[in-house]
């Protein structure tokens, strides 16, 4: 099954507007810590997550707003988390890099590059051992692929034929380090294939292409074929984080990629085949912007966790160890 292109467009717009607002809020000091934007990469999250069922799990990175939104985590709880409010999806304890939503099986936000991979492997293992047909999708970057964890996890996933969908977001950079300085061999899908996994590269700026690839991949994984590795070729339009002056990328390169903006690309296609008018798009956009605005207002109005609760959740409330930190 594949998704309706219009739904993909809506998801991408939601991510885009959400993050543009986050950037403003960061400048205003309402959002703090590190903030990594996904602008430019929306097609990946939208295309992949549309193929997941509610029993599937998702593991993400610190560049995770897109994954969380595409997964259906309510934007109110996400925005409240960015504000550090108790109404946030992690009760204000996580912030931008640690969004969690158990009811959507969104298992975070991991700020250690590669750190989500072993966790995702375990989610897949747990599902497999319990005989459910669920799939775990794990997002990570081209940079993460150089970490030892990637190697260990892909090998184990193949060895145990685990239902793991590895979504490598190849945006050509790990912070300021270009892929040519990260990998001796930059054909990432080919390398993954050498482990015995099905693997192929996908145009990560084309939401429909991503969605089709994800549909096929999820099908294979759910069918018990073991892990599939998708190399999603994409680009981040903005700097690595709000701290990054982006000294290392050529203006031309950025401009070329911006010409392939995934939202404009899909909108243009839908316009061309007559399924979208400018008015439709404006309406969707207005609706999305209104939702974001409402979420920001709700977040601003949310309560803060009282400091008396600081050590809550270090241990489970039911654990006797919880007493030790009170």
């Amino acid at each position: 099954m594949t998704a309706e292109p219009l739904d993909l467009l809506r998801t991408m717009l939601l991510i885009r507007r959400f993050e543009e607002r986050c950037a403003e809020l960061y400048s205003g000091g309402q959002i703090r810590g590190f903030l990594h934007l996904y602008v430019g990469e929306e097609a990946v999250a939208a295309g992949v997550c549309a193929e997941l069922t509610e029993d599937d799990s998702v593991v993400s990175t610190y560049r995770e707003h897109g994954h969380a939104l595409a997964r259906g985590v309510p934007l109110e709880s996400l925005m409240a988390e960015m504000f550090g409010k108790v109404t946030g999806c992690s009760r204000g304890r996580g912030g931008s890099m640690h969004l969690f939503d158990r009811s959507r099986r969104f298992v975070g936000g991991n700020a250690v590059v590669g750190g989500g991979l072993p966790l995702a492997l375990g989610l897949a293992l747990g599902d497999r051992m319990q005989g459910t047909p669920a799939v775990t999708a794990c997002f990570f970057g081209d940079g993460a692929m150089a970490e030892g964890e990637f190697h260990e996890v892909l090998n184990l996933a193949v060895l145990w034929r685990l239902p793991l969908l590895l979504c490598c977001e190849n945006n050509l950079y790990a912070m300021g380090t270009s892929i040519a300085k990260e990998h001796g061999s930059t054909e990432l899908a080919l390398r993954a294939a050498s482990y015995g996994a099905t693997a192929w590269p996908v145009d990560g700026m084309d939401a429909v292409a991503v969605n089709r690839a994800a549909a096929r991949a999820v099908d294979e994984v759910r069918g018990g074929a073991g892990p599939v590795f998708l190399e999603l070729r994409t680009y981040r339009f903005r700097a690595h984080s709000m701290y990054d002056p982006d000294r290392y990328r050529a203006k031309d390169e950025i401009a070329d990629w911006r010409d392939r903006d995934p939202i404009e690309l899909l909108a243009a296609r839908l316009r061309a085949d007559g399924s979208l008018t400018d008015a439709d798009l404006a309406e969707i956009d207005a609706e999305v912007v209104a939702r974001v605005t409402a979420a920001v207002e709700a977040a601003a109005a949310g309560e803060e966790e009282p400091v008396e609760e600081l050590t809550r959740f270090v241990y489970s409330d039911t654990s006797t160890a919880a007493r030790s930190v009170r």
Partner: protein, 340 residues
């Protein structure tokens, strides 16, 4: 609470006594766990066809099959992380990291996922995971295979650290750890596997909240755990001959520490010696000294003494290794020093 009541708190078995070893007690605990709960599985390097690096899991593969006694490749970070994920997904994994020496390769998963997920997620993701590993020196395995790093783990909020020093605890700590909603790291000392003794046939779960007074005494409190308990008890006997009555506290749980039992004993004896196989600087012994002086400063008749390992990567040669480790004589000497 009296010393007797305190040590009783760790056991309630009443069956006939049977001969066993620390290794067999650990294996029985694993077998029982695998039998009683379908969600439990054991995973690690060579837990299966090899029979366990120290033969602890011998026979379990045959009994429970390769899904539940799961051999892994040499990929510590991945399979520890896999245990975390599987725990979240509803399983009750027991991950064996062969020895503490190799656990450094999985440290990020332990600290940044296992220990942090519950809090980071605002309470959504408890991680009911047990990680077992062997610790300690004393068998001439040299620098890279002789670490005692459980003190490091005891620094990390979000996990519980336990160290069985007796047959009863070897038999009983696993069940309690498995019923804990949060991650528990269980440290088995490599020199204890062959320890023999008797155990109640119906021995089972023991509490993980209390330290135990293993020997009552009035003049000095000797505090130890895991591999150091036996020689600390020996030192206590030797001190008797010197006319010094030593109470011996077995920490059992290294995080959270049972301050009440530790400090309670020192309040009675007014003197204390902490025995710790870790390198002295920054070892768990320092934390215990700090807590004693914080909570019983005015009860102390002398500075708390520490007997730890020399600050040296463990050498292979027997005489050097013996000189590096806490010994009965050094414990006795430290206790006598507290008399001034």
């Amino acid at each position: 609470m009296t010393a007797k009541a305190r040590s009783k708190a760790t056991s309630s078995a009443k069956g006939p006594l049977v001969e066993t070893t620390y290794r067999d007690a650990l294996r029985e605990a694993l077998r029982e766990a695998l039998r009683e709960d379908d969600r439990v599985f054991l995973m690690g390097e060579d837990v299966g066809s090899y029979g366990g690096c120290f033969a602890v899991s011998l026979g379990l593969l045959e009994e429970f099959g390769p899904e539940r006694v799961r051999d892994t490749p040499l990929s510590e970070s991945a399979f520890v992380g896999a245990g975390i994920g599987a725990a979240i997904q509803g399983m009750r994994p027991i991950v064996e990291v062969m020895t503490v020496n190799f656990s450094m390769l999985a440290l990020d998963q332990i600290v940044n996922n296992a220990a942090a997920l519950l809090h980071m997620s605002g309470g959504q993701y408890p991680v009911p995971l047990v990680i077992r590993m062997t610790t300690g020196a004393g068998r001439q395995l040299a620098a890279q295979h002789s670490h005692s790093l459980e003190g490091w783990y005891a620094h990390v909020p979000g996990i519980r650290i336990v160290a069985p020093a007796t047959l009863e605890d070897a038999r009983g700590m696993l069940a309690t750890a498995l019923s804990d909603p949060d991650p528990v790291l269980l440290f088995e000392h490599g020199s204890l596997y062959t320890m023999k003794g008797t155990l109640r046939a119906d021995a089972g779960a023991v509490d993980l909240d209390r330290a135990a007074v293993r020997r009552p005494g009035t003049d000095v409190t000797l505090i130890a755990y895991g591999g150091m308990l036996a020689r600390t008890l020996e030192a206590a006997e030797a001190l008797d001959a010197e006319g010094m009555s030593a109470e011996v506290v077995d920490l059992r749980t290294l995080r959270p520490l049972d301050d009440a039992t530790i400090v309670g004993s020192v309040r009675n004896t007014h003197r204390a010696v902490v025995v710790d196989e870790g390198w002295r600087s920054g070892s768990l012994s320092a934390e215990i000294v700090a807590r004693i002086q914080e909570q019983a400063f005015y009860d102390l008749d002398a500075p708390v003494e520490r007997v730890c390992s020399a600050e040296v990567p463990m050498p292979y040669a027997h005489q050097l290794e013996a000189a590096a480790l806490p010994q009965v004589a050094s414990i006795v000497a430290a206790a006598l020093r507290t008399k001034g």
